[in-house]
């Protein structure tokens, strides 16, 4: 049996003193250290960026798919379509500029994506459960996910439920291909960045090894490595040193609860 080794001795809040959403937000925030420009929608990624701005990374910037850059909403926006994201922003770019120049031009360090299914190398399905022609469940589709995947320097995937439904050996539909899948399918099409470097789930954190395969890098408190392996639809490789996620600090929780999302729009 592999035991997780806690390597981080930061003072932590008492266990269960934080919610799963808070934990995922804090973990995401810490992973953003040193990054400059983040492409993300509303939700946990926005909270993570806001927390990073107020703690480790004051200069980190969030770019929205709608073209809004340098948003300064007076309160947390309820939806990506919140008028308060536009008012007082530093720039609102046109859609061709956002997709053509900002994304394709390689200006995004980290793109945040979600998915219904993810595979071993980080390919994502957001289109359909079942066959595309005869869907069991029709999902929203790509939106900008294909472009975020292809053009960000790396991609963080946040999945609230780590289980065999979402971590699959084979996707029902490959909406947004991993770097590896892109290169295999079209080796002469230029790629950029790393593809999915990091997956943050309710059980732990997966990171890509140098072949791009997602391997277990850390488990959250109270979670065992076997538990994560059992919840993953492929034989999950392990990083050499697996850490236990350091719990959110009191200060991180205070910032989240009091400053960033006091009405708990996202901190469900």
């Amino acid at each position: 049996m592999i035991t997780a080794i806690q390597t981080d001795n930061t003072t932590t809040a008492t266990p269960a003193a934080y919610t799963a959403s808070e934990l995922l937000t804090v973990v995401s925030c810490r992973l953003l250290q040193g990054k400059r420009r983040v492409f993300a929608g509303i939700g946990l990624p926005t909270l993570a960026v806001a927390l990073a701005q107020k703690s480790s990374s004051p200069d980190i910037e969030q770019v929205y798919e709608s073209g809004v850059c340098g948003a300064h909403p007076p309160r947390l926006p309820e939806t990506i379509a919140d008028a308060s994201l536009a008012t007082g922003a530093e720039a609102i770019l046109t859609m061709p500029v956002l997709f053509g120049y900002v994304l394709q031009g390689g200006w995004i360090d980290v793109g945040f994506l979600g998915a219904a299914q993810i595979d071993r190398f980080g390919s994502l399905n957001t289109s359909v459960i079942g066959p595309w022609e005869e869907p069991i469940v029709r999902l929203p589709g790509s939106g900008g996910a294909v472009e975020v995947m292809s053009n960000s320097h790396e991609v963080f995937v946040v999945l609230r439920r780590h289980n065999l439904t979402s971590f699959v050996n084979e996707l029902d539909f490959c909406t947004s291909p991993s770097l590896r899948a892109a290169r295999l399918a079209a080796p002469k099409v230029p790629t950029r960045g790393l593809g999915v470097s990091t997956v943050i789930t309710d059980l732990g954190v997966l990171k890509a090894d140098n072949t791009g395969e997602l391997c277990l890098a850390s488990v959250h408190e109270g979670v065992t490595v076997e538990q994560v392996q059992a919840a993953t639809g492929w034989p999950l490789k392990l990083m050499e040193h697996i850490t236990v996620t350091a719990a959110p600090t009191a200060e991180e929780l205070r910032l989240l609860r009091e400053d960033i999302d006091p009405t708990r729009v996202y901190l469900r």
């Binding site: 008028a83 859609m95 029709r138 589709g141 053009n151 899948a181 399918a185």
Partner: protein
């Protein structure tokens, strides 16, 4: 300059025909709901609906039986629910009443760009390895004639029969001004054969001409300009009214049940006789909590000859 002002009824009656490819655009912001309702009211049929982000308006048009094909990149009711009428149709599989043609956001936007630009294809830096290339023959790979002979995916032009957009203001000749999130409105208007613009207010030429850089679509591209206050409800018009999030949250319960959906369409669209009727039904004071506090742009100086 000739006035292009028209009523919503007349604009839809004149420029939207059964069987047309109709693009209704607006990215989260300025979604042309009133125009969508008028299309339902006039019982248009067999439309190919093009929309980067089909949302409630698509659910209503599909639910009302106006649509035979949907061209899209992302369908959903933001984070609060699904489009059940659209899903029921698509999840019927081989007996679905609608065809779908699926892109990513930039894939569809690039089709508008190619359509507006009269070029046979637009290259985009993605799609390698995506199954979208398997199910959509409009996403093709070609080889660069330069240097390294790298390859790239391209999409062909899309030229809708009609583009319908909503904006904050225009003059009577159809010079359209918009601010906040801009979406693909400029691209789709130039790409389409005809363009209908619905605006919160038609203003004097002087207002438009005091800030020509704010004009996103010049009048010569616009065939009809319609003044229809609150015509983007339940979406929003930056500076005019915020998004009606309560309505968005309430939609799943309506759309999930075909009978409820049918009743909603009857009650709110067929029985209201026009957008004015719809607003009456919402009731006086309905928009009060949605009206934002003024937050004005700092004027810029264009300067005038001495």
């Amino acid at each position: 300059m000739t006035s292009k002002e028209a009523s919503l009824h007349d604009a839809i009656a004149e420029f939207v025909a059964d069987g047309d490819v109709v693009a209704l655009e607006g990215f989260t912001h300025l979604i042309p709901f009133a125009a969508g309702h008028e299309i339902i009211r006039q019982r248009k049929r067999d439309l190919t609906l093009v929309r980067m982000t089909p949302d409630i308006i698509a659910d209503q048009l599909v639910g009302a039986g106006c649509v035979s094909k949907l061209i899209f990149a992302f369908m959903g009711n933001s984070s609060v629910g699904s489009l059940y009428a659209v899903r029921r149709a698509i999840e019927a599989g081989s007996v679905s009443p609608i065809d779908i043609e699926e892109y990513s956001h930039y894939g569809l936007l690039a089709r508008y760009q190619a359509g507006a630009s009269g070029i046979p294809f637009m290259p985009i830096r993605s799609y390698a390895g995506s199954a979208l290339t398997d199910i959509n023959p409009n996403i093709k790979k070609i080889t660069s004639p330069f240097d390294d002979e790298s390859e790239i995916y391209v999409v062909p032009p899309l030229n809708p029969d009609v583009a319908i957009i909503h904006a904050q203001r225009a003059d009577r000749s159809g010079n359209i001004q918009s601010w906040g999130i801009l979406g693909p409105q400029q691209e789709v208007a130039f790409a389409a054969r005809k363009t209908i613009a619905i605006v919160e207010e038609i203003v004097d030429d002087d207002v438009i001409r005091s800030d020509p850089n704010r004009t996103i679509i010049p009048g010569f591209v616009v065939d009809a300009v319609v003044e229809s206050k609150y015509g983007a409800h339940p979406s929003f018009a930056q500076g005019y009214y915020d998004r009606d999030n309560d309505f968005y949250r309430s939609w799943s319960a309506i759309s999930r049940d075909p009978e409820k959906l049918r009743q909603w369409i009857q009650e709110w669209i067929f029985d209201t006789e026009g957008h004015a009727g719809y607003l009456n039904k919402l009731g006086e004071g309905y928009f009060e909590p949605l009206i934002p506090v003024p937050h004005m742009s700092t004027p810029v100086n264009y300067g005038s000859v001495r």
